[in-house]
């Protein structure tokens, strides 16, 4: 079994890594690049804890082969904040107590970012369906949805006043 060399851009930085053909992007993020913020909750694309944004699309990194990301841009939870400044979603999740154990949180934040990138003014129902691939077992989703909608409102306000 020979390892394959792959080059990609992760959180804005060029990276190169070697992977076995069966290894997933999630395996490489966690075990090779030590970006352990993306979590494995199921390994089958059913929980969303490993969600990352790949070339602008939200994906489960457990369902992407590591070799597939050759030349791609990958954004993970570790790249969501700017330096020590939290992304508005991260801040709103804290403000609204939208996390309990925190294990699903990185995936939900990445999914929420992809939502607001695609739809700056989602309805509650749109937000719920967009996030249906991200399981949270602690919160009942209530405060997560409120945090996402509140972030969207704040970002729209910022855009208006900008």
């Amino acid at each position: 079994m020979s390892k394959q060399r792959t080059a990609a851009i992760v959180n804005g930085d060029p990276v190169e890594f070697l992977s076995d053909p069966g290894q997933t992007l999630l395996d490489v993020l966690r075990d090779e690049l030590h970006l352990t913020g993306s979590k494995e909750g199921c390994g089958s694309g059913d929980c969303g804890a490993c969600s990352v944004i790949m070339d602008g699309r939200l994906v489960c990194s457990c369902l992407v082969l590591a070799a597939e990301v050759e030349g791609c841009r990958v954004q993970t939870i570790e790249g969501l904040s700017t330096g020590s400044t939290l992304h508005p979603l991260q801040q709103k999740f804290l403000d609204h107590a939208a996390l309990q154990c925190g294990f699903c949180t990185p995936g939900i934040l990445m999914a929420s970012k992809a939502l607001l990138d695609a739809n700056p003014d989602p309805t509650e129902s749109e937000a719920r369906y967009w996030l249906a691939g991200n399981l949270c077992r602690c919160t009942g989703y209530d405060k997560i949805i409120k945090a996402v909608l509140d972030t969207a409102a704040e970002l729209r306000q910022d855009r208006k006043s900008a």
Partner: protein, 288 residues
């Protein structure tokens, strides 16, 4: 797993060669394949990624219809305004495959060739009378979409063959389609039953053509000719819908499993076909 290799050919010919090997599997979105490899249900020697072949991703209008690259993901279908307007049933069916994350990856070809009886997009592709463009060692051929799947997990594709594109035929005015499925939750489940209906109407709203296809009620998706026939000549009056429902129930040969009983699947298939027909009819009336 020990011998597994990953190949990403950049031409159809190279892909055909790579797929002709002993146990090669085509990869487009990977949302089924990678789960199968991980669980050990699939043990390919080669995974052949088709996404870097020019034309495999994308949607283009051609001869009044559409050509959809086989590795195009579901999200791209819904982002295509014209396709969504002309074939809303296909787009909504494709968009029911999994989560937002899955939508960013899963392709029509994967949904078809995974050969699950419950594949959401397949009934809608069938009622649209879709043709598959297939590349293989003997060159390129075309085949009706309903001829591809032969049973759970089985296809009529020969070694080295793969679906390159889907051809949707030209669509006249006053025509539309719809797809509905039943799942226990609101998202993330495999269909317990699914029904697609495609209709064309005359100026008075009378069905001039009608196709009804079902998912998850037989070893493969079913095109139910009698059900379509029941709608032709009608304006979806109750009697026509009742006849269609009877034809649907008669066609169902479901199994009972962890996702639903045979009895339930049969009943629900008729309910879904009825509702989908009404949606398709209302949409068709709105189409110029």
């Amino acid at each position: 797993m020990a011998q597994l290799s990953y190949l990403s050919p950049s031409s159809v010919d190279d892909a055909v060669k790579a797929l002709s090997g002993a146990s090669a599997r085509a990869l487009s979105g990977g949302t089924d394949l990678l789960v199968q490899v991980r669980s050990g249900r699939a043990k390919p020697d080669h995974i052949v990624d088709l996404k870097r072949i020019p034309g495999l991703i994308g949607i283009r209008a051609e001869n009044g219809g559409f050509i959809i690259g086989s590795a195009t993901c579901g999200a791209m279908l819904s982002e295509h305004a014209t396709l969504s307007k002309i074939w809303p049933g296909i787009v909504e069916a494709a968009n029911l495959i999994g989560s937002t994350q899955i939508q960013g990856r899963a392709s029509l070809a994967g949904n078809l060739c995974n050969a699950s009886p419950a594949a959401d997009s397949v009934p809608a592709l069938i009622t649209a009378r879709t043709t598959c463009v297939i590349a293989g060692p003997a060159g390129t051929r075309e085949a009706a979409v309903e001829s591809i799947v032969t049973g759970p997990g089985k296809t009529s594709l020969a070694a080295g063959e793969f679906v390159v594109a889907f051809k949707l035929p030209p669509r006249g005015p006053k025509a539309s389609d719809a797809y509905l499925r039943m799942i226990p939750r609101t998202e993330m489940d495999i269909a317990v039953a699914g029904a697609a209906v495609s209709l064309a109407l005359d100026a008075d709203g009378v069905c001039t053509s009608a196709f009804v296809a079902l998912g998850a009620v037989a070893p493969t998706a079913l095109l139910v000719a009698d059900a379509g026939q029941a709608l032709i000549g009608s304006r979806l009056e109750a009697s026509a819908l009742t006849r269609m429902e009877e034809a649907v129930r008669a066609a169902c040969q479901p199994i009972s499993d962890k996702r639903g009983t045979a009895d339930y699947r049969t009943k629900i298939a008729a309910v879904l076909a009825h509702r989908a027909a009404v949606i398709a009819w209302n949409r068709a009336k709105e189409q110029a």
